[in-house]
Symmetry: C2
Subunit: 335 residues, 2 copies
DNA sequence: CTGTTAGCGCCTTCAC
DNA sequence: GTGAAGGCGCTAACAG
């Protein structure tokens, strides 16, 4: 993919490679306007492009940041990645990206691979924030985001899950819902799920997990869910209580609505719903879905800025920080 | 991010760097089992990782493929990227990724940047397949996908847009739709849009563009669309014709449904709809949306395989090929 | 202003 | 089996 070297064009212009190098690095003060012009001309003519790998080797700085994402297929992730990419570009960094596809083992491999690539820094959207691999990270050159470890070792950018959910669910309660349910993929210590659930508990005041419905994420059939929902709804008919559901994310919401539909229940008449995550289709659903919106691209941007500021400063980073990014509410007609 | 070098561990084990290098490259036949063990042990102890950039420079082969995507935010794109990433990983390649965010200028920059990075090969999901930048590509080390140029210069992996749409729209006609409309973002010579539209024309037999509705993609307000739809629907009431719409993609479909709803029209009663693109929410829409499904990850996989087969073969690639990937239909209740 | 000269970390003959 | 030495393309002092 490459051909000419700095030496070639040095010969052609009849100067030393050092001068070309200086030209390449914008040190124009170190050469006459004349040679500068000649170099410029020659580079255009020959279509010469310097080798970044040689440069990286020489400077021992790749100006690339390695990214490991949990699952690129997730809309949240691609938005984050988009923010990361754009911000890196603005700051003169390249991104090399790896995808764990939701597999914690793959994630470990990815991180090792990135280290081998001599990236200047790491941004990680973890599958498993508790993975031992993260203990090997240095807070000087890494940032994590979204899911967080219980004792964070590196700066972590997270969404304001707790307050967002507390606020949202409180609103539902104010709207007269007597009984609320939190529906989610298995919580499994995953910080985002845990925190959203805590927000739910905080708003509702429930002391046990009777109002938490976990569904398996692979899909599978939802018979168990249907019967559980049927019972809840039946109960409602007897007591006349207004009941509401808060879904941990868009995919779970889809499952909920499908299951409800199969037992002939419609929101917002038979039940109220709200969801974490703001997806475009939520606006065109029969009654629109009220939800919590997080600015995913901004999360990526924040992570990059934090990382690069650490990379370019020479004082030690100190204790790992938790950087929280706010959310906004999108109120529609689903409750 | 790096510390030890090959020299360091050579000293520690008391052999030359060449031996270490041989070890690193699996040339175990070139050393005694004893030294091999010592080296292995030392590498584990010291946690030494060889520098890829030095290796790349020395071998002049980076084993990384550069990817330029049109817009990472598009679900199609992230699925493709996921396929690309996975396949590259299996084949021992790293991917470095750039995102044009739908901007043709940015795309040009990205491609130049990738070239500078000395990638072994390029995979491009173009914003503008006609961009002059693609004339600079070599069919030996590049593959394009999705959108294609009128005269392709490099192998291009595309979806079977024409047949998919022809087939789908024909089915709608068979279901009794007397009049069909194709709704789309501005076609603007973009091959995927052009081809889908041609499939539509083929199925319907329309000779002019009276049944093509273009909407602007930024969003904006859809007043024009609403009045246009209102007229069409009014006409329908007079003539009693059954009318159907085919949407070029999921986002356009959302706009269509929203506009229809604002004039109080519901599918499948007042009109029928179908769409290109299969998104998860289409299954939970009031009546489910019938659509055309494309296996995006498979497109990425196909592109990678084609590329790597070219990179590793030493005969010239010859004329650029068009590789078409099939689609499947998902029939639900929207028409 | 311009050229010389060491490296950067690894690979690869080519002798020993 | 092992080591010495040159080189990959570029940068960064240091001289001149």
């Amino acid at each position: 993919m490459e051909r000419l070297t700095i030496k070639d064009i040095a010969q052609m212009v009849n100067v030393s490679t050092a001068t070309i190098s200086n030209y390449l690095n914008g040190n124009y003060s170190k050469m006459s306007g004349k040679t500068r012009n000649k170099i410029e001309e020659m580079i255009r003519q020959t279509n010469y492009v310097p080798s970044t790998v040689a440069r990286d080797l020489a400077t021992n700085d790749s100006k690339t940041i390695g990214v490991s994402v949990a699952d690129i297929t997730n809309p949240f992730t691609s938005a984050v990645l988009s923010g990361i990419y754009e911000t890196c570009g603005n700051l003169g960094y390249t991104v090399i990206f790896t995808n764990a596809s939701g597999d914690a083992m793959q994630e470990i491999e990815n991180i090792n691979k990135l280290k081998r690539q001599e990236v200047s820094g790491l941004i990680i959207d973890p599958v498993d924030a508790q993975s031992p691999i993260f203990k090997t990270l240095n807070n000087k050159d890494a940032v994590m985001l979204d899911r967080e470890a219980v004792n964070i070792q590196v700066d972590t950018v997270v969404t304001d899950n707790f307050n967002a959910v507390t606020h949202f669910v409180s609103m539902m309660k104010e709207n007269g819902y007597d009984e609320m349910y939190f529906i989610t993929w298995p919580i499994e210590q995953i910080s985002t799920r845990v925190t959203r659930y805590q927000g739910f508990l905080d708003a509702t005041g429930y002391k046990n997990d009777d109002h938490c419905i976990e569904i398996s994420n692979p899909g599978g059939d939802d018979e168990a869910l249907k019967t559980q929902l049927a019972e809840i709804m039946e109960d409602r008919e007897e007591t006349g209580k207004k009941i509401g559901f808060f879904s941990m994310n868009g995919k779970v919401l889809i499952r909920l609505i499908q299951a409800m539909r199969s037992i002939n229940k419609q929101y917002p008449f038979d039940y109220g719903v709200g969801s974490y995550e703001d997806l475009d289709w939520m606006g065109i659903m029969k009654p629109g879905i009220s939800c919590i919106h997080q600015d995913s691209a901004h999360i990526g941007e924040t992570a990059v800025k934090k990382l690069i500021s650490k990379l370019t400063s020479d004082d030690e980073p100190g204790k790992a920080q938790r950087i929280v990014v706010p959310t906004t509410l999108k109120l529609r007609e689903s409750f």
